[in-house]
């Protein structure tokens, strides 16, 4: 087999991968390389990756930047403008996580090479995230999806605080088990897909041909459903969500942020790739996706409504939001892929901001709703940023961007007249608002002025990295609310 290979096109993937290699080499050359050097390499690698997505973003709609092209003209890697946007999002989310973890990872190491290992794991997972959204064949898809997942198991387990270490390992084991099950489903699905279409390439024409043949169409449906189930685990869509609250609550908070942000980009990107390859060849598989969406949002919102721990609340909200990402993909429409990507972008930005605030306000790990009561008075600026994030997730103005994201996600469903799904989604908007307003109500509530039992909490000075992250993400959401352009 001969490939035509274009390394420049692969820049967004190669930059974090090369960064991982450099960190490994540095660590192998000398143990005395300071942690700061490893983190700096990681930051530069992510920044270079971000720069490398720019040509993909600016290309005209319909164009794509392809590599690993076969003589037949099919390419194993192709990034259109939507894929490039998702790559930008994944790299940006990884950058945010790096900034949030910066101080922790510079701290005293437990055992040799801690920081180097963490930097390598972060970079390699990110390389997987970036690759998966541009994958155009099952092999690349599977490998890059696992590359995006498995390093995060290590990140979850590498908790530096001795007190939380045991819990973190539990979370990592949960995540590992889930990943293995999900990989088994994906591999089985991929095998059936190859059996049904006769090719490992994800090309719409092949799927259409297979679905036209009665002997093969059943196989294709089974393959699609298995692949959806496998990806459903990574996306934490119900009924494959049960690892999410466990792992989110036990991982170090910056790593949870990674799972909630960059990892979701990989999963949603993979789903978009598969759905586009299916191109409406199977109504049944799409109905299954619709059910998945409806179940996820309903279950996620209902359980989030009673959570006291904010990380668990965000975990269940991630389940609900996964439903919203899947929603537009469940109908055959030109707009499905961009709609899912657009919704995902807004969700990731808002979730990163919410996590950044939770991390900035966390004292010793857990943060409950009670801890955030009166936050608006104690730390008005941070509380305003949190309010913006929550309103974006709820889809309420003044965070217009969240509202527009809901419009975009609902448009294919309402346009195709899938009324039952549209009505379930509409009711879930209200449920979601209840979830986020409950939090917001606690944040803006006033503390009793002179209640004797109230102990004034002296605000801990915020780290500059937290300030920068919160500021940048807030600015992005505000700008997006004023002029919602370029997301879909």
């Amino acid at each position: 087999v001969t490939f035509s290979l274009d390394l420049v096109v692969l820049g967004p993937v190669l930059a974090p991968a090369a960064g991982a290699l450099i960190v490994l080499v540095l660590d192998a050359v000398s143990r005395r390389v300071p942690a700061l050097a490893h983190l700096a390499v990681a930051a530069v690698a992510l920044a270079l990756g971000l720069v490398a997505t720019v040509p993909g973003l600016t290309q005209a709609a319909g164009d794509r930047r392809a590599s690993f092209c076969l003589p037949s003209g099919d390419c194993l890697y192709a990034a259109g403008s939507v894929s490039s946007g998702l790559q930008l999002l994944g790299l940006g989310a990884a950058g945010v996580v790096l900034a949030l973890a910066w101080r922790d990872w510079l701290g005293p190491e437990r055992g040799p090479g801690g920081t180097a290992v963490q930097a390598v794991l972060l970079l390699s997972a990110t390389a997987g995230v970036v690759a998966v959204v541009a994958a155009r064949d099952l092999g690349t898809l599977l490998v890059s999806l696992e590359l995006a997942t498995l390093p995060t198991v290590g990140l979850v387990a590498l908790e530096r605080s001795r007190a939380r270490e045991g819990r973190a390992v539990e979370g990592a084991v949960t995540l590992l088990t889930t990943s293995l099950v999900s990989f088994a489903l994906l591999a089985l699905g991929a095998a059936l897909w190859v059996a049904a279409t006769g090719s490992a390439l994800l090309t719409p024409a092949l799927a259409r041909e297979a679905s036209g043949d009665p002997a093969r169409s059943g196989l294709l449906v089974l393959a699609a459903v298995l692949v959806f189930a496998g990806i459903g685990f990574k996306l934490s869509a119900a009924p494959f969500h049960s690892w999410t609250p466990l792992t989110y609550a036990r991982a170090p908070l910056p790593v949870t942020t990674y799972l909630a942000g960059a990892s979701k980009v990989a999963a949603a990107g993979a789903l978009v790739v598969v759905v586009q390859a299916l191109a409406g060849a199977s109504d049944f598989a799409l109905t299954a996706l619709g059910l998945l969406a409806a179940l996820s949002m309903t279950l996620g919102n209902m359980v989030a409504l009673v959570q006291q721990d904010l990380v668990r609340l965000l975990a269940w909200s991630a389940v609900a939001q996964a439903g919203w990402v899947v929603l537009p993909l469940s109908v055959v429409s030109q707009r499905s892929g961009p709609a899912a990507a657009g919704y995902l972008t807004v969700y990731v930005l808002a979730t990163l901001l919410a996590f950044a605030v939770v991390i900035a306000t966390a004292r010793g790990g857990a943060v409950t709703l009670e801890d955030h009561r009166g936050l608006g008075q104690r730390r008005p600026l941070v509380a305003t940023a949190l309010g913006l994030a929550l309103l974006t997730l709820a889809g309420l103005p003044p965070a217009v961007i969240g509202l527009v994201a809901k419009v975009v996600a609902l448009r294919p469903v309402a346009g195709e007249g899938v009324w039952w799904l549209a009505v379930v989604a509409a009711l879930n908007v209200a449920l979601g608002i209840a979830v986020y307003l409950r939090w917001l109500a606690a944040v803006v509530s006033r503390q009793p002025e002179d209640a004797g039992t109230f102990v004034a909490v002296v605000p801990r000075p915020e780290r500059w990295t937290h300030r920068v992250v919160i500021g940048v993400l807030s600015l992005l959401l505000v700008a997006g609310s004023l002029a919602p352009v370029g997301l879909w």
Partner: protein, 523 residues
């Protein structure tokens, strides 16, 4: 120097309250917080400026048209027309009233609900975050103006949703219920009900947008039934259910009495006089114009619910012990007449509905200002408590209450009359495609509701206004409140005596809307 054109006036009408609200809300986050003596005049000034700009925009037919979300084909297309102009003027007036109405502190402060905390010694200091309170009022005002001005369905929806969070804040933080749980319960109920409704409306909007390939409301009106009858009913039903929550139409009205009884006076005024109008306006713009056949098919059921609502709410008014809640129930009855008028599908009915909409806005604003003042003075609004007769102790307030209740009972010569009589007349001879028999039954039932309105208005006046008790004495309205009440009474009288001004303003637009619809509807 920017020349004042219709275009800048439209932009200013929405931007001034938004910008001032942002400034107030930001200033409130820093210490020292702005004193209420600063933030109130600023807010009233912004509302006045916005009102002036709105009036100028309506008179000069100004319009703004800018691209906003190119990927969705959404344009920031703002322009008044015959249908929205009366509502814009109403909103502008009510915005000034709401910001100028004196703020009354919630009866119990946070953190002491049900506890045995000692009573605060001496008068309480100035309440905190009043700048945010005024900012919320201004955002509600801007959102309503944006909704009425929008000629694009997505912008319409954004304006529709913009009012939710500030209204939630107003009810949850500044509501006049006695407990925090009561306030936040009412606030949550408001947001959840109306958000469900508006998302259903969004589903309908998106379905229409996909059918027509545009979100331009003018284009929708022009296309009329161009999409064909198939599927019109489904979209119309989704839109009507969504909007019926906002109006509200029986049986989706359950959120309204509680929220109204809990909201601060300014919040109640805005809610009744402006926000409920958004629902009716949405029915005209999104359903009647673009989906004439679907609307015609759904209209008997809609009219039936409206009439049930009239009778139901009027009966509730006869027994409701809380005066503020009673006014809220009467709002449901009045909006029942408005929806009945819409459902008839005739020019008379639509005219009556638009008239009744504005009239109800003025009357309910008046009544809520009066009742808000009474509730504050009385320390509660329970009608079973013996109070001094308003006739004896507060003649000005008493007169305003009599005028408001008389208008609410539909007395000729006051604003409430024309909308109700028009709706009943239109129901007696409904427009094309409506079953006459059913609508005549509805007309009879609606008339029964009007009789009940006289009964409950008489009940209120008997319990509150007449009598000869003079204790416990309460203060009459004076200063700003008196001026506001006077202006609203005058508006109610003027609209009742000279309804032609308003009817002429809406007539061309009504003819165009129904003309376009029937022309499109004919095969």
């Amino acid at each position: 120097m920017i020349e004042l054109t219709g275009q800048t006036a439209v932009a200013l009408a929405v931007l001034v309250p938004l910008v001032v609200a942002t400034v107030l809300a930001v200033a409130d986050r820093f210490s020292p917080q702005p004193h209420p003596a600063v933030s109130r005049p600023v807010a009233v000034g912004a509302a006045l400026a916005s009102a002036a700009a709105t009036a100028y925009a309506v008179l000069s037919d100004g319009a703004v048209d800018l691209p906003w979300i190119p990927a969705l084909g959404v344009r920031l297309d703002l322009a008044p027309d015959g249908i929205s102009a009366p509502l814009l003027l109403l909103t502008a007036l009510v915005g000034v009233v709401a910001t100028a109405v004196p703020y009354t502190r919630p009866e119990t402060d946070d953190g002491q609900d049900g506890s045995t905390a000692p009573l605060p010694a001496g008068p309480p200091g100035p309440p905190r975050s009043l700048a945010t309170y005024y900012a919320c009022l201004l955002v509600v005002l801007a959102g309503a103006l944006l909704t009425f001005l929008a000629r694009d369905a997505v912008v319409f929806f954004v304006g529709f949703e913009l009012v939710l969070v500030p209204m939630w804040w107003l009810v949850a933080r500044h509501g006049d219920a006695t407990g925090r749980a009561d306030r936040s319960g009412a606030a949550h109920r408001f947001v959840l009900f109306t958000a469900t409704g508006s998302t259903l409306m969004l589903v309908g909007i998106l379905a229409l947008a996909t059918r027509t390939g545009t979100t331009d409301l003018d284009a929708w009106e022009r296309l009329g039934a161009a999409g064909g009858p198939g599927g019109q009913l489904a979209i119309a039903v989704v839109l009507l259910v969504g909007l019926a929550v906002k109006v509200p139409v029986w049986p989706l009205h359950t959120w309204l009495p509680w929220v109204h009884a809990t909201a601060p006076t300014a919040g109640s005024v805005l809610l009744a006089a402006v926000l409920l109008k958004l629902g009716v306006y949405g029915m005209v713009r999104l359903v009647m114009g673009p989906l004439p056949e679907g609307f015609a098919q759904a209209s008997p059921v809609l009219a039936g619910f409206a009439v049930v609502g009239i009778v139901w709410a009027s009966l509730a008014c006869l027994v409701e012990p809380d005066l503020k809640r009673l006014i809220a129930w009467s709002s449901i009855a009045h909006l029942g007449f408005v929806v009945l008028g819409l459902a008839t599908g005739s020019a008379t009915g639509l005219q009556a509905a638009l008239f009744g909409n504005v009239a109800h806005g003025l009357v309910s604003a008046l009544l809520f200002v009066v009742v808000g003042h009474l509730k504050h003075q009385w320390g509660g609004a329970d009608l079973r408590t013996a109070r001094a007769a308003l006739r004896e102790v507060t003649p000005r307030l008493g007169f305003a209450l009599v005028a408001g209740m008389a208008a609410a009972m539909g007395l000729p010569g006051l604003a409430g009359f024309w909308g109700e009589i028009g709706a009943v007349l239109a129901a007696w001879s409904p427009g094309a495609g409506r079953t006459e028999g059913w609508f005549r039954v509805f007309a009879v039932l609606a008339s029964l509701g009007a009789v009940l309105a006289v009964a409950y208005a008489a009940r209120v006046l008997r319990e509150v206004w007449s009598g000869d008790r003079t204790a416990p004495a309460i203060a009459d309205v004076r200063g700003t409140s008196a001026v506001l009440v006077g202006v609203l009474v005058a508006a109610v009288v003027v609209l009742g005596v000279y309804p032609v001004a308003l009817l002429e303003l809406t007539e061309p637009a009504v003819t165009q809307l129904l003309g376009g619809a029937t022309a499109g509807g004919a095969p």
